[in-house]
């Protein structure tokens, strides 16, 4: 099968799945009477609608090619960084560093992917960003909570630009026998992460009793976690045929993606709490902000990228 054949099969499958989900959601919406149930069903339907949007965006990126994908993810980084910094206290002395992050670091990081300069792409923010951002801040001569401000800005930049940019960076990988199909890896990553999120939510709602991290995330349960990990790992393994991996390898990689995604969700939930909020924003209906959707992806993407690169792209 060519990449396009696989893609159309996948899209067909996704559309069929979402159609079913939408119909079920609509039917459930017709039947509920209780106020509490209504809220859950509304939440479910909003999630399904947001999924439609994500599938549509992915399809567009795939059909329009690498440039469109890079532009799309740089926009995601832009929106995520904007969300992150809106909630992060900074002072006017940070103004130049922040402008630099938005208008230099985002374009350069994605440009480096565009020209396939792996060496600089992988150190640009950890090295140059690390050194330049506080250098720009310090010129404003304001030492009031300087370390906290710098640390927060760097954390935001690493998470929203560096980590998220590893999703489209999958297009860089030169895997023998897999040429021209890298966009499927991108789809694979997003599918496994999102499936894990959805299954954790569903299993949590159905069977959830024991809280797994009550202080950081009052919604996550042990039952949801196990259901999500097992379910998403199985789905990831079952999708081995769109990847360069064997069935067992796919299971292992999906397991890593799922665990990292789970940890990403927890970590960002703790970050949110320490910034004093529950949701990152209101951009995607029913999904909080864009960071609420990208939290697991941002943690899973760099590991997925490096594991695939190390073992499959000699």
């Amino acid at each position: 099968m060519t990449a396009h054949h696989t893609f159309f099969w996948l899209m067909g499958g996704m559309v069929a799945l979402l159609l079913t989900a939408s119909i079920i959601g609509w039917l459930l919406g017709q039947r509920v009477s209780h106020e509490n149930e209504r809220a859950t069903i509304d939440n479910l339907n909003a999630r399904i609608r947001a999924w439609w949007v994500m599938v549509a965006i992915f399809a567009m990126a795939f059909l329009l090619g690498k440039l469109a994908t890079l532009l799309m993810f740089s926009l995601v980084s832009f929106l995520a960084l904007r969300e992150f910094l809106t909630l992060t206290p900074t002072r006017s002395g940070d103004h130049r560093a922040l402008s630099l992050a938005f208008f230099v670091f985002i374009p350069v990081q994605y440009y480096l992917i565009g020209i396939a300069w792996y060496g600089l792409f992988s150190i640009f923010i950890p090295v140059y960003g690390f050194l330049l951002l506080p250098s720009f801040s310090v010129l404003a001569e304001d030492s009031e909570s300087f370390l906290e401000r710098c640390a927060k800005i760097q954390w935001g930049v690493m998470l929203t630009i560096y980590c998220i940019s590893h999703v489209p960076a999958l297009l860089l990988l030169d895997i023998p026998g897999y040429a021209g199909r890298n966009a499927l890896l991108l789809f694979y990553l997003l599918l496994v992460v999102q499936m894990s999120d959805v299954l954790q939510y569903v299993f949590g709602k159905l069977l959830g009793k024991t809280l797994i991290a009550p202080v950081v995330s009052p919604a996550k349960t042990v039952e949801g976690f196990i259901g999500g990990v097992v379910g998403a790992t199985l789905i990831g393994a079952g999708m081995w045929w769109i990847t360069p991996f064997t069935l067992l390898q796919a299971a292992g990689i999906a397991f890593v993606i799922v665990i990292m995604g789970f940890l990403g969700g927890l970590v960002l939930s703790a970050v949110k709490r320490s910034l004093g909020t529950k949701d990152w924003g209101t951009m995607i209906k029913g999904h909080g902000g864009i960071l609420d959707r990208m939290d697991s992806v941002s943690f899973a993407a760099p590991l997925f990228f490096h594991l695939t690169r190390y073992f499959f792209a000699p």
Partner: protein, 200 residues
């Protein structure tokens, strides 16, 4: 005008400028003076973009003549795109009331966007108000006074910087400021300032 559409689009892309009508407030066609805290050059645009389009065409921002009539670009933005009313910030020697252009606009039935601090401030909460708002309120007792809090804009483009940092800014419209008979100027201005601070 194309430039206005472009500026509104740019404002929304950079800072969002999503409106929140707080409490019992709601957009309406009644003539209004929107008064807001002032901390950046984007303030006017953000407030203007947050208004529904049909109200926006009858709402005119107030801009300082000493700044916005300098140079053809500033003039183009202020006068042509935003349809701003330019006023002098200081009372000139000729004894003309600097509020005269605003009075004319209000008499025509249009609404105003007004920054009672008279200049940009660096902090999140508004500084002391100048008396302009009081005189306008006295002269037009039936115009609704709507407090507006512009969140985060002091971080986006603080005074003295030339390049914006895109952060999400909400434009919070508060309930109409009630009129109190025989209120002193100082008391009125303090109450108006607190109405904005209450939205922060």
């Amino acid at each position: 005008m194309w430039l206005a559409t472009l500026l509104i689009g740019l404002t929304r892309a950079l800072v969002g400028a999503t409106p929140r009508w707080v409490g019992s407030s709601a957009p309406s066609h009644a003539q209004k003076i929107y008064f807001a805290n002032h901390s950046s050059h984007i303030d006017t645009l953000a407030l203007w973009s947050a208004l529904p389009a049909d109200l926006r065409i009858r709402t005119r921002p107030v801009a300082a003549a000493d700044y916005w009539s300098q140079g053809s670009f500033r003039k183009l933005v202020a006068v042509r795109a935003l349809n701003a009313v330019l006023i002098e910030r200081t009372r000139g020697d000729n004894g003309v009331d600097p509020l005269q252009p605003l009075i004319k606009v209000l008499e025509q039935g249009d609404s105003l966007i007004f920054f009672p601090e008279g200049a940009r401030h660096r902090q999140a909460l508004p500084g002391p108000f100048k008396a302009g708002l009081y005189y306008l309120a006295m002269r037009f007792p039936n115009v609704e006074l709507v407090p507006v809090y512009l969140e985060n804009l002091h971080r986006c483009l603080p005074k003295g910087s030339w390049f914006p940092v895109p952060l999400i800014c909400t434009v919070r419209f508060g309930p109409v400021l009630p009129r109190i008979a025989d209120e002193s100027k100082a008391a009125f201005l303090e109450r108006a300032r607190n109405a904005i601070a209450a939205l922060a």
